[in-house]
Structure formats: C-alpha cells, structure tokens
C-alpha cells in the first residue's frame, strides 16, 4: 500500500511553493523576524523543517487602530456616564454590587474588568452562550431568544432556528453525529454498562473499557502507555502539579490555555513566560535558567519543563516543534505538549503535530490531548513512557479523586480512533482527515483572496478573522445569524483589547456548498462592514490565480 504521507507531503509542499511564487510576483517582500506580512521559516533552519512553515500575523493599517481606540473611548465615556447614573440612583441597578454594610470596605467591583463587563460586554451579550438544541454537527438548531431590557435578561420565544451552519464547534473530523449505524457499538455499551461509574480510578472505577481505550491510545500515538481522564481541563490542571513542584522551573508560552496556567500555578513551581512561538526568547530563558539557577540559592533547578500547545486556539498558529525539541535536547529540559486542538486535526493520518513535522513521539516527554475536539467525546489523555504513566496512575489527583470516564463515551472514542487508524476495515478515517485538510486549505485560501486579515498557520483548521472594532463584534455576529450561520466572536479578555476576532473552526463534515455559502455571506458582510483590511490580498486577478494552481481539488 502506498505511503499516504508521501502524497500529502508532496501536495502540501507544491501548494506552498505556488503561493510563494505568486506573492513574489505581486511584489510583496518577505521579512524575517518581526512580521508585518508573510513569515517564512526555512532559510536559517533549513534542515529542521521538512516542509515550509508559513504563518501570518499581519498588522492592520494605522487608521484601524486609531478608529478602534475612538470606539473604545466613546464606549468608556458612556460607561462612566452610566456608572454615574447608577451610583446616583437615576437608573435601576441590575448588576452585582456590595451590600449597604460593605460600602466602607475595599471595593469589589471597581477594577477595569468589572467596568468592561458592566458597560461594554452587556451591550453585546446576546452573541454568547446561545443555547443549542441538537447535535453540534455541521448544521445545528438554535433556540430563539429575545431580550426586552437590552441584554440584562433573556426569554425564549419557544421557536427554534433550524439548520444553522455551524462554524464554531470543535468538530474537526465530524465525529459528532447521530447516525444509528455509526453509534451502534456505543448503544450496545450503553445498554451493557449504563452511564455512571460511581467510583474513582483507584477504587472500583477501572473498567475493561478503560484498559482497552488506553492500549488503543498508546498504539495510535506510537508510545509505550497512556492514561485517560474524565475531563480535558482537569487533565492539565491536575496532572501538572503531580509532575512538577517547588524548586522546578516551568517555561510556558505567552498564550497558553487557562488549564495549563492553572496547573502551573497550582504546582508551586517558578513560572517564566516566553513570547508566543518565539524560539530566541525561549533559548534566552533556558540559558539564564541554567547559568543563574534558582533565584536566591543559585542552586541548579530540579527540573525544567517547557509547556506548549500543538495548535493555539485563539491564534491558529502551530508550535515550532522541531526547534523546541532541538533546544530541549541541548539544554536537557522536558517538554509537555498539549495537543487539545491538533490531535486528529493535523498530520497526514491525524496523529497530531508530532506527525505533521515528521518527528518521532519519543522526542516529546509528555504527550497530552483531549477527546472533546476531534473525537466527539469528552475527556483527556496523557501518554508517554511507561514509567511516566505508572507514576501518574498513583500520584495524579485526577486518578485518585476524580471519577473515571463513563463507558459509552469511552466506546465513542474507541470507535472514532479505530475508524481513524483504519482498524474497522474502511478508509473512512483517512478520508475524513484528507477532507479536513482540503476544507482548511480551501477556506483559508478564499479568505486570503477576499482580503480579510487571517491569523495563523496555513494548515490549522482554526481560522481567526480579525474584526478589531468593538462595534463590529456585535454587528458581525448578529448579521451572520440572520443569514443562518453561527459564528463565535471573541473579544477582551480572551484576546488583547484591540484585536477582537471571529473564530471559525473548519470541519471535515462541512461540504463544499456549506463552505461556499459561508464564504459568500462573509464576502457580502465584509464589504458592508468594511472588514477587508488586508494589504496583501491576492485578488487582483483571481481567474488567473485559479488557472496557475496545480492542485487536484475542484
């Protein structure tokens, strides 16, 4: 059987090569270091990366930043006005506030975050926490809700909005489905085991399903052993304290997820932050750590561990794994890789960033991932060498105190993984991975052509589209819902205050027609709301561009 990765590698490389040529023709210059446009890596570390690594972090023109600040300025002034009216009793207070007896204490709600929540977030709050009432597949149903008092309270009208195209769920491989044939084994296990476990792993909560699942996960990733936990967030926050403690050093990326930050803080180790995906910053921190040691005693650190993620969900960027592994080998540190978004979504056969870069899983000390994103289930895993996993089985808080994963969910992961590995006798898994890759590349290419500013790596299925101005956040989400497309918009505090964005998650279950519907709606809305800020768009001659591409997709 032909090696599937060879075809994919050749395909991708050719695609990047073409894009590079077109950009050079249109006179866009590449810069190394600080990026204003395209960033290409492969010149200085030519031997580490087997294919080109292109990431975009384009800066918007200056007038956009000025207008964003104008918008926030007006919002802040009106925020102060409203706070004044509330304080003087001219307006009813709907918000949380202290009791009369506590007015002389240190104030609780005066910091910027509470001010922002009261005055800016409340005005556009109807775009978040929308309840859905169907499976979050490529299309879903929303419950219609209206507000009578400007988003302070909501009520449901009783109607549902049907078949809204879903661009927000982390359903990368499309395993969130309700087809009876697909869920046959899951139904069987549900009838055999029921739903609850009622015990922790160490007492009576280890079923044969868990053992089977752990062996399968280890085989899938190509490591010695793995352990599964019932909750993805808890996998990070409860296991990092078991691995590091006081006297250890954690080097964590600037944009790491809250679960990693919480786990690092709970452990009691010293935490140092390096700039996002910036290897010079990481190397400087490593050198300082080894040269100067612990802060006062100057002793060597007991352990140095680097915390990174496979795909960062707010930026869409992929970690520079080959460089990090070479740094870790040089300075003898440990690497903890959180593949929550990248497992199943990148790589030729869906095995994550380790396969994407063509590296061996032995290079990474702790491989962590979740089953919520690509497998349509719940929970997380930690995989690595047998000693590591045996240690975690006895020393992790999650293993000792948390209830284990319930059997139908474990069976869903088993069937999804068997499908991905091809053990169920079909090529459906590989087809899904390929379809996701095609959808991702098509979606990103079209958005770039239209002239939007998109962040992230060309191969990541997470696509953040920059909106910048606070007024446009609400307008964008509401108008997309009117066109029957559900999107996730993100603002402060999940992103920097001036870089609010809409985040699309491409799925293998999206058909070409659905993506075209979304892209046409985005085109229209981009023109109406003036969102096409990119100065490097390639849309000068889209027909010519189409003809010179050699990709086999239609």
């Amino acid at each position: 059987m032909a090696n599937p990765s060879a075809v994919c590698n050749g395909h991708l490389h050719h695609h990047h090569h073409q894009k590079q040529n077109n950009l050079l023709k249109s006179g866009v210059c590449k810069k190394n270091g600080i990026t204003k446009g395209m960033k290409k890596n492969g010149v200085s570390n030519g031997t580490l990366y087997k294919k080109t690594f292109i990431e975009h972090f384009e800066q918007a023109p200056m007038y956009v930043a000025v207008l964003t600040f104008v918008g926030f300025g007006v919002g802040t002034i009106f925020g102060y006005l409203r706070d004044f009216m509330r304080a003087w009793g001219l307006e009813k207070r709907n918000i949380a506030e202290e009791r009369e007896q506590q007015k002389d204490f240190v104030p609780l709600y005066q910091d910027f975050e509470n001010f922002y929540t009261r005055n800016l977030y409340m005005r556009i709050r109807d775009n978040w926490n929308r309840p859905i009432c169907s499976v979050p597949g490529p299309q879903f149903d929303l419950m219609e809700r209206v507000t009578d008092d400007y988003n302070w309270t909501f009520r449901f009208t009783g109607r549902t909005i049907k078949n809204v195209i879903n661009m927000g769920s982390y359903n990368y491989l499309g395993f969130a489905e309700t087809e009876p044939t697909a869920l046959k084994t899951v139904t069987k296990e549900l009838q055999k085991y029921g739903t609850g476990i009622c015990s922790t792993r160490q007492e009576m909560g280890t079923l044969d399903k868990h053992v089977e699942l752990e062996k399968l996960v280890a085989k899938f990733l190509g490591v010695d052993d793995a352990m599964v936990f019932g909750m993805g967030f808890a996998t990070n926050s409860m296991n990092i304290p078991a691995l590091v403690g006081k006297g250890c050093l954690i080097l964590s990326d600037e944009l790491n997820h809250t679960s990693l930050v919480l786990g690092a803080r709970l452990s009691g180790a010293t935490i140092r932050i390096f700039k996002h995906n910036n290897m010079q910053s990481l190397e400087k921190l490593l050198r300082d750590a080894i040269i100067y040691g612990q802060p006062r005693s100057r002793r060597a650190w007991r352990k140095i561990i680097i915390l990174v993620e496979g795909i960062y969900s707010m930026e869409g960027s992929i970690v520079r794994l080959p460089e990090i592994v070479s740094l870790k080998k040089k300075y003898k540190a440990y690497l903890y890789l959180d593949e929550a978004h990248s497992i199943g979504a990148v790589g030729a056969t869906g095995r994550g960033v380790v396969e994407y870069f063509g590296m061996s899983p032995d290079d990474v000390d702790v491989l962590m991932g979740t089953f919520t994103k690509s497998f349509g289930a719940a929970g997380g895993y930690i995989a690595g060498k047998k000693d590591l996993v045996d240690f975690l089985r006895t020393h992790s808080h999650s293993a000792v105190y948390a209830t284990s994963m319930c059997p139908p969910v474990a069976e869903q992961i088993i069937r999804a993984m068997k499908c991905l590995m091809g053990l169920d006798g079909t090529t459906q898994g590989l087809q899904r991975v390929r379809q996701l890759g095609k959808n991702t590349r098509y979606f990103r290419r079209r958005l770039h052509e239209m002239g939007f500013i998109i962040y992230g790596n060309d191969d990541s299925p997470v696509v953040p589209l920059l909106l910048y101005m606070p007024g446009k956040i609400g307008a964008f989400a509401r108008r997309m819902l009117e066109k029957n497309i559900g999107v996730v918009v993100v603002g402060f505090p999940a992103t920097p205050i001036t870089e609010s964005r809409a985040r699309f998650c491409v799925s293998a279950a999206h058909t070409r027609e659905m993506l075209d519907t979304v892209l046409n709606a985005l085109d229209e809305l981009g023109d109406f709301l003036q969102l096409k800020y990119s100065r490097y768009s390639k849309s000068s001659h889209p027909e010519l561009y189409e003809e010179t591409r050699f990709e086999l997709e239609d």
Partner: protein, 80 residues
Amino acid sequence: MDFKSMKYYLYWLYCQFELITCSYLMEPWEKLLFYTFNITMLVMISYTAYLFIPVHISTAFQFFLHLLGNQHENAVSVVK
C-alpha cells in the same frame, strides 16, 4: 453591496459611523445624547470657521504683500 442609489450610499456611510463610534451599541436615549453633542460641536466649529477664517486669510495675505512690497523697493535701490 451595490451603490444603486445615493440614499443607499448615505445609509451605508451612516452605518459605518455608527459602527466606528460604537453608537450601534447604544440605547436610544444614549444615541440622542451622543448625536446632540456631536451636532452641537460641529455647528459651533463651522460657525466659528465661517466668522473668522475670511478675516484671518485677508490678514495673512496683507502681511505677505507687505513683505514682498518692502523687498522689491530695496532690490531696486541696490541695482541702481
């Protein structure tokens, strides 16, 4: 988005103004306050401009004329 009529274009401009200054998010009475303030400031500034700019321009023009006039006389005397 097609500019089929002037009215649509003006409406689109108004939408852009609303989005940029966050007045899209405001309640009706806040919008009234904001627009009243803006229009008042605009009217005051344009009235001030209407009153004072012609006077300023004619003063500046006279100043430069005076400067050029003086220079011309000096040059003539040296050559001769």
